[in-house]
């Protein structure tokens, strides 16, 4: 699959994943063991200093993908290239040095901080595993204070415990911890969905500021399309272990190729639609079991446009019908792509 290669006039991406597959053996009653295919040939590209939004419902493989990118899972197939190297070939010291380049911000700021450590200890903890770059002595306190300042906390917060902070402040501590090793990529797994709306905006602004100042890239996993639309440069939409559509964020969300993307956009409640003006295409059914995915197109069991070909053949890459092909890299994998003039289903 070559669809994730960028146009040649752009700098090399920070990360490319090609054809990632990962399945897990799960115990099943009576019938013995079964395999759950979490990733079924996933391609992905993260540009330097940019944000890739990763969108999909629960069970689509988002979290497994994040774990592979963090080298917490080894894919069964496929390759990962990070800044020109395959991190899965690294061993020992080189692997350790690589690990500091990808860090993570978790969804739940209440569960992801150790309640018995102060903010300063939490932020400094990554240095315990990376002593070669750990600041020593007084430099250490200075660096912790710099990180606190960077995420908008006060120096006096250094010696307070997580319970003394609000949810938004805790998420700032989690972000400071992720920054402590100077990563190139931060995987943000639903970083604001546990926060109150009035606090969400503060954290989203902070992430944007940090990207501008530090040039860090984000893989931003979220189910909230309005958040993704705001923060992401590019978007990949996942369904049952596959990327079904990717491209520039506005392109994908405003002019989707894939009926699933279109349904997601239309399902998301919107402020601009008050009262009775409902234009919703409500999708029927729920995501099928990843242990027994449908043949052909994974989405066909819920798709309003599905025909017999969708059950028989893997969907080909498609651009929005009517759009000149070969412009940009907006693709959806669908037998009946959406377009300005709807193709007959």
């Amino acid at each position: 699959m070559t669809d994730v290669s960028p146009p040649s006039d752009q700098p090399a991406p920070l990360l490319t994943a090609t054809g990632l597959r990962k399945s897990f053996r799960v115990a099943r009653n009576r019938t013995g063991n079964a395999r759950l295919t979490a990733l079924d040939g996933v391609d992905l590209r993260v540009e330097r200093g940019r944000t890739l939004g990763l969108v999909g419902e629960s069970g689509c493989g988002k979290s497994t993908l994040a774990r592979v990118l963090l080298l917490l899972e080894r894919p069964d197939e496929g390759t990962l290239r990070f800044d020109g190297i395959d991190p899965f070939t690294l061993r020992g010291r080189a692997l350790r040095a690589w690990r500091r380049r990808v860090q993570m911000v978790f969804q739940d700021p209440f569960a992801s901080l150790n309640a018995r450590m102060t903010a300063a200890e939490i932020i400094a903890e990554p240095w315990r595993s990376h002593r070669d770059i750990a600041p020593e002595g007084a430099r250490r306190d200075t660096r912790v204070r710099e990180l606190l300042d960077l995420v908008g906390l006060r120096p006096g917060d250094a010696h307070r415990y997580p319970t003394e902070f609000s949810g938004g402040q805790r998420q700032r501590i989690g972000i400071a911890r992720a920054l402590a090793l100077g990563p190139d990529l931060i995987v943000c797994d639903e970083p604001v969905s546990a926060l109150d709306l009035s606090v969400q905006a503060q954290v989203l602004n902070l992430l944007a500021d940090l990207q501008r100042e530090l040039g860090v890239s984000y893989l931003f996993i979220s189910h909230d399309l309005s958040v993704v639309r705001h923060v992401a440069d590019r978007v990949s939409v996942m369904y049952l272990g596959r990327v079904v559509e990717h491209g520039p964020a506005e392109e994908v969300l405003d002019r989707p190729v894939h009926p699933y993307t279109s349904a997601l956009v239309s399902s998301a409640p919107s402020l601009e639609l008050t009262g009775d003006g409902r234009r919703r295409t409500v999708l029927q059914g729920e995501i099928p079991s990843p242990m027994d995915p449908p043949s052909g197109c994974r989405f066909r069991t819920r798709c309003p446009r599905a025909t017999t070909v969708c059950a028989e053949a893997e969907p080909p890459p498609a651009t929005r019908s009517g759009a000149p092909s070969g412009t940009g890299d907006h693709r959806g994998w669908c037998h009946h792509p959406l377009g300005p003039t709807p193709a007959p289903p």
Binding site: E57, H223, V231, S267, L271, E272, L283, Q284
Partner: protein
Amino acid sequence: MTPTTAPPARQPEPGAPPPALRVEGLTVDLTTPTGELRAVDGVGFSVHKGRTLALLGESGCGKSMTAQAVVGLLDPVARVTGGTAHVNGTEVLGLSRSQRARLAGPVLSIVFQDALTAMNPVRTVGAQLAEPFRIHRGLSRRAARERAVELMDGVGIPEPRARARSYPHQFSGGMRQRLLIAMAVALEPDVLIADEPTTALDVTVQAQVMELLADLQARQGMALVLITHDLAVVAEHADEVAVMYAGHVVETGPVTEVFTHPRHPYTRGLLDSVPERAAKGRPLHAVPGSPPELGSIPTGCVFQSRCPLAADVCAAERPRPRPTGPSRAAACHRSEELASD
């Protein structure tokens, strides 16, 4: 503390039927190791038959506790210390447990957020859905079971007759939420309270569940109180909104008006911080700080520490809800300053 009788947000027109649910001056106190805390303070709102009122607020604002107080399911550490709740003109807060039990189902009903913990894990869903018909209608086991199957069919459970023999854990999250809704509407209540009914669900399933609630409301004509933190859900599904902050209702009115011309700085702050309304790449309008802890709610206005318009009067005196337009009210000393734009 403020007087516990906030004026009702809207005066009913003469001759109009009374609201299906009218809550006035509701106050709930919590007993904690550190003393008494006021979690709900003088909350008032009303909702008419066939209409939807959204109780909108962030976590800890008291919206769920308000609902629990109205249906009589408060946690033992919490108790109602003031106010009234009238359902079809009957006061319900002072009723005994057995009087309450007679209302629960045919008159007043609630859908909880977490469908798995709200159902009995060791009984089949068919038996649980049949229960209201056996208790309130005195139907036979067989007849009640038939009604349960019809009910499951009515909320879109495929193969309801076979699935009635399944246990709650054998259903997906979306299907469980449908079952919970089916249970709540079984006896066609006049008032249905839905406490974050879609928060735990994926977006495509959320849309299905909200559509189901709207269908049932249209069929049964019930008054719906939709408790949520999601502004977009309010915009799409509610007729009126009551915005809560730190145990208080700070603004009430028709959704279309409140969301286009908010008259409380908190409502405006919430609306401004929605990414959907912001230009891409530009900073979002964040509300600074975070909501106060229950133990440290300031005297004066509850929102003063985060408010861009806060003045001396806001620290000195707690604002009472004042009319800001036809059927609208806001509890803000400075709401006129929001009227100009």
